[in-house]
Structure formats: C-alpha cells, structure tokens
C-alpha cells in the first residue's frame, strides 16, 4: 500500500488529507499517478485537472514528474508553495 497525502487546495478538492491506495500495475511515475488520480473519481478530476500545477514529494524529497513512484512509502501531492 502507498500512502498519499494532499495539501492546500488539493486536500480540499480531494476531501481528505491522506489515504492509502494500491497502485495499478501501469502507474510507474509521478506523472502516471497524477493522471490515474484524475481519472479515478470526481474529487480526483477536480484536484488534478491541471497536472502542471501539481508538485510532488516522494518519501520526503521533491520529485519530478518522471520520478518513479514506490509501491509502498509516501507520496505528497500539492500546489506550488506560497511561502511564509
């Protein structure tokens, strides 16, 4: 199981701050994960309608769209940060 956590308006649109998911076999990268979440349900469609506006951190480190998503661990998905 992979833990997903959401922040800011991604959290709001998903209606939850975190969840655990089993990834389909064809989800390999962060970009794949975002497309899968966008297609999965209405909340995902709202949160991930614009993949270019989504940033990701895998196991606590910032990850590019092409980064490989682990089968277990944590992926955080969020908009660009707006600072302190």
């Amino acid at each position: 199981m992979l833990k997903l956590s959401y922040f800011a308006w991604v959290r709001e649109r998903m209606g939850t701050g975190e969840e655990s998911v089993s990834l389909p076999d064809d989800v390999h990268t962060v970009a794949d994960l975002i497309l899968w979440l966008a297609a999965r349900n209405d909340a995902g469609a709202r949160a991930f309608a614009e993949p270019m506006r989504i940033r990701a951190a895998v196991d606590g480190h910032m990850a590019v769209p092409g980064a490989v998503v682990p089968r277990s661990g944590e992926v955080a998905l969020f908009p660009p940060v707006t600072g302190g």
Binding site: A8, G60, F78, V81, T82, G84
Partner: protein, 146 residues
C-alpha cells in the same frame, strides 16, 4: 546555536528574543512578520507538511549558517489559522558583525517566501476564501541570493 520551530501556538517575540539573546553577541538583527488585516482579511490559514516544512526551514537555517558567521539563529514559523495582527514568522540572527546579522535576516526572509513548504489560504469578511498564488516579486527577491 541554531533553533528552528514550526508551530501552531502564538509566537511570543519578547520571550524568543530573550531565549535567543542568552549569549550576548555583538549584533542582532531581526524580522517579525505579522498578518495584515487590510483588504478585509479575517483569517490567514497556513497549511504545512509535517516533515517537509520543518526540514525545509532547517535546511534554510543551515544555509544561512554556512554563508555568514552567526553566533545564534532563531527561525520560528507559525502554521494553522492566524488572526490579523498576529505574528506569523520570526527571524533573529546574531553575529559579532552587524553586516552578517543583517544579511542573514534578509536572506532568510526572502527565501522563506519561496522555498518553504507552506500554503496560504485567505478568508475575508465578505465570505471569500482564496488559496494564495505564487508571487513573481517574491521569486525575484529570493533569486538575488543565487
């Protein structure tokens, strides 16, 4: 001594100043940012990542410590719901030399605006609730530091 904190409790500037000052260094520079209530803002909410936000602040503090000769550095950022007038961030740097303390504070506050894992949501008296978008000006200031 580098001290970094991310917290939802109010920031007591005088208490933090006293805690920081214990050593008695030549020069201390500080920056205190407060939530502004103009434009009818009634609450600023800062969403944060429990691990990434703190580690980002620590990395920033460490970078300041590497760039300048600092005797002490305090960096405290509030998260969660914050009312207008309340303190959102405190940066406090001490050094034997004034130029180093001042530069470190300016560097930290500029980079805090762009680098740290925080997301701002503004609530207004007329009911609007808006997630803040990234600001170009903040990036220009932060880029000065290379």
């Amino acid at each position: 001594m580098i001290r970094v904190a991310v917290r939802s409790a109010a920031i007591d500037v005088a208490a933090e100043y006293a805690a920081h000052d214990a050593g008695g260094h030549g020069a201390s520079a500080s920056f205190v940012g407060r939530v502004r209530g103009d434009d009818g803002l009634t609450e600023l909410f800062l969403d944060h990542h429990p691990m990434l936000t703190a580690s980002g602040l620590e990395a920033l503090a460490g970078e300041a410590g590497a760039r300048w000769s600092l005797a002490a550095l305090t960096l405290i950022h509030r998260v969660g719901g914050i009312a207008p007038g309340e303190t959102i961030v405190l940066v406090l740097a001490s050094s034997a030399h004034r130029a180093e303390a001042l530069a470190a504070v300016e560097f930290l506050i500029d980079r805090l605006k762009t680098d740290v894992m925080l997301w701002k949501r503004e609530t207004f008296g007329d009911g609007r609730v808006v997630w803040v978008e990234q600001r170009e000006g903040d990036h220009k200031r932060a880029e000065r530091w290379g």
